[in-house]
Assembly symmetry: C2
Homo-oligomer: 347 residues x 2
């Protein structure tokens, strides 16, 4: 028997979730020695990812949305890298790294069917290519794919255009900016601290500003003198309202997320929507879970960029699964810097 | 000399324009006998079109938008059918009907260059096919092309889907509904009077309601039990906010116009935008002036539907160019029924 620390969804929050109330830690026991039926295997979680979209899953299960609600009283789940420590499945062998929607607990017993439902796939690349395991839930995981797909499939980015990225130092934004720069765009971003703004300039953004201390409207006028052709929308609310007035004719708004709204009991209304008609804008939302077919090209492209040292990727590592609730809250309030991961085991 | 009655843009309005203040009537003299230089010709206006987008042209000329501002003190212009009454141009001959952006006056002298700038083209079809001349500024003119292009190029309508059309009895909406129905969609519309709602049902809408007396949210729940796949957006504001909650996953919003907002000093803000991301919606604006290439297929399709009596098209005819200001105001307040035209001459 080993202790199995679990992150439990305990209560539906109405605004910001609170650690110890809406998300709690449970210590259960896990029998590593129990015999495995055919197709069963046990994984140990190495690293897990906390992301803004999880706030949407902390809802009453009767409300439908794109990602299933977390189940009250059960461990949360999310993108993780796990290692197989015991297997009676022909699909995985001891030592394999798996990527997919793991449970937020130290040990999980899967079988081939449940593992397939959670899209667990063997991903042993980091064992040999020197890329940190945590990158596989970030720049090479769901957030990275989100940036890559959003820019190409929705944003239709073109050399010489100007892109503006909100939440630009986040898990998605920082990669979106670097891919856009490599593609020949003028890249402008905003973030919520002087440190984050300095980082954006270091990684090649043409310009960046602090939306908390600067006037967004004035800064966009100054930093995007030819207007905005593509807006990578991560924020929503007042930010969107301002950006609409800076969009160029035939501009595209990549509807990736609206983090400013997720914890409001009453989301903000947005003005200036007539710009969508008068400037012939395309505002298109997407959810990366719909596009698994886009993953292989993305992995190929971005792995190579990392190996060629053309991409930098800022992460905040929280140590210990018991600190997962705080890590998620930091993401929702913007306290983290870059991609927030939780190191569950030493790799 | 003949009297040439003109409709003059006199003052920029801040809310609803007022006849006699923002739009005025001028009587000038026109010399029909004066010799014409090479390339010059004189037209008599037969019918002119007043449309919602014209409100956007009644602005200070320093403000850029998709359609040029009207020039203070000058005749307004807009889609018209004109007849050539005298010509020294090889491109037009006496008796030809022309379609394009005519001046809102009884007589105009053009030359080949100015006529080309205003996209005047010879359109003699109504002389022989029995279709009323007024149709060529409505169902076969700019509003008809708007409906056709919006449905196919932006809405990507598919058989079996549900479309909801606001301002459905208007110049664009009534054709959009009938094309959608012919294409195999469930078609639901809203309009602002019992008479208009009855008309929508007569021309084949599966359901229709009065947005002024019915609860839009409840009606959409009742009449679109499988949700809305395509929203033909003519209205904006609160209507858009409600429709967003009825959209299906991967739905399309055809951003054609937002007439509820054009006369507000402070346009309304819109809630529920997070649906664009969570439901992966595409909200795309378009301006039909960008798509002249779409006209020939449209004219072919819709002319045939009219000749086959598969399309009905409601018009309100105002007699006399001097009543143009009231006709435009009626469009902006929804007092008109169907396509509003002004009969300038007897045809």
């Amino acid at each position: 028997m080993v202790t199995n620390t679990q992150v439990i969804f305990s209560k539906v929050p109405s605004t910001f979730p609170v650690s110890g109330e809406h998300i709690t830690i449970n210590k259960s026991q896990f029998d590593l020695e129990a015999p495995l039926a055919e197709g069963e295997f046990i994984v140990k979680t190495l690293v897990l990812s906390v992301d803004p979209y999880m706030r949407g899953r902390m809802r009453d299960a009767s409300i439908k949305s794109y990602a299933p609600a977390f189940i009250l009283g059960q461990p949360m789940d999310g993108h993780s890298v796990m290692q197989v420590i015991k297997s009676n499945s022909v699909k995985t062998k001891e030592g394999d790294y798996l990527y997919g929607m793991g449970k937020f607990e130290e040990y999980t017993k899967w079988n081939d069917k449940t593992a397939s439902e959670q899209n667990l796939v063997v991903r042993n690349d980091p064992k040999s290519n020197g890329i940190p395991v945590s990158y596989y839930v970030g720049v090479l995981g769901m957030p990275g794919l989100t940036a890559h797909y959003g820019l190409y499939a929705i944003g239709n980015i073109k050399k010489g255009e100007t892109i503006y990225i909100s939440a630009a130092s986040g898990a998605v934004g920082q990669l979106a900016g670097q891919i856009s720069k490599a593609h020949g765009l003028r890249v402008v971003g905003s973030a919520g601290s002087a440190e984050k703004v300095a980082y954006l300039k270091e990684i090649g953004f043409d310009a960046a500003f602090n939306y908390k201390t600067d006037d967004t409207d004035a800064k966009l006028t100054e930093l995007c003198p030819n207007g905005v052709d593509v807006y990578f929308e991560n924020v929503g609310g007042k930010m969107l309202e301002i950006v609409l007035t800076h969009m160029n004719t035939f501009g595209r708004i990549i509807g990736c997320g609206m983090i400013s709204q997720y914890n409001l009991a009453k989301p903000e209304k947005v003005g200036n929507l007539m710009n969508i008609v008068s400037k012939r804008l395309k505002f298109e939302g997407f959810i990366i879970f719909d596009h698994p077919e886009a993953e292989s090209q993305f992995l190929k492209d971005v792995t190579q960029m990392i190996l060629d040292k053309k991409i930098r990727y800022q992460e905040t590592h929280t140590k210990g699964i018991e600190n997962t609730p705080e890590a998620l809250l930091d993401v929702l309030t913007g306290k983290n810097f870059g991609k927030q991961v939780v190191d569950v085991a030493n790799v």
